[in-house]
Assembly symmetry: C2
Homo-oligomer: 134 residues x 2
């Protein structure tokens, strides 16, 4: 079941070859075996695992998170998988809130700025130059 070279694997999973080797260096994905020449060989399990990594990244997990998820999924510990997802969800919530605060700040400034006139009357510059906090 080791029918794929690193190039085919990478192509099927939609990542770069170097990325596959990078994941190997970082203990996320090992080849199923090696040819006598040293060429890596991969099977379906590795392809699934690589796609797992891609999807988890798309969900906002870092590679360190994913390493954890892969370990947990090996251990078949559903409760901890769910917990990890909840932690990440809270993290994503926090990042969204922060960006929303930033967005409101920008919106206020953009709305208040007439887009012409003297610099002293530009609320964006004035806000950035304000004497008081943030």
């Amino acid at each position: 079941m080791s029918n794929l070279g690193i190039g085919q694997l990478a192509k099927r999973a939609g990542v770069a070859i170097d990325t596959v080797r990078y994941y190997e260096r970082n203990d996320l994905l090992s080849p199923a075996g090696r040819l006598a020449s040293g060429y890596r060989r991969y099977g379906e399990a590795e392809l699934k695992r690589l796609r797992f990594i891609r999807r988890a990244k798309a969900l906002g997990f870092t590679l360190a998170d994913i390493r954890g998820l892969l370990t947990l999924s090996d251990e078949r510990s559903v409760a901890r998988i769910k917990q990890a997802a909840e932690v990440k969800l809270a993290d994503v919530d926090r990042r969204i809130e922060e960006l929303e605060r930033i967005r409101e700040g920008l919106r206020t400034l953009v709305k208040a700025c007439p887009g012409h006139g003297r610099a002293e009357s530009c609320p964006i510059l004035n806000a950035l130059n304000a004497e008081d906090a943030p």
Copy 2:
């Protein structure tokens, strides 16, 4: 008007000394002058500028953005300042949307997962292991 050493400047602006020097290396902030010893001296203008940088960063501008803003504010070109803020606002919008998509994905999975049982019944693992796209 060059009454501050780098330590006082950093403290008043709420940044680290190394950060001030880093900004100098990256053409964001120069000292008003130097003592014969080479010690940097800063005045009120530099303190304002450093606080400007801090606030703009809090609004999600990168240092490269801020370099641009500082140039524009020197040029007193209000229209371009407003435009820069609009561009950044669109960028923040885009980042929020992306995170919201991620959040919905996570929410769906967390809701669907009972938190116990066999790994095969964990929708989180199943989604990450799915055969089809993404």
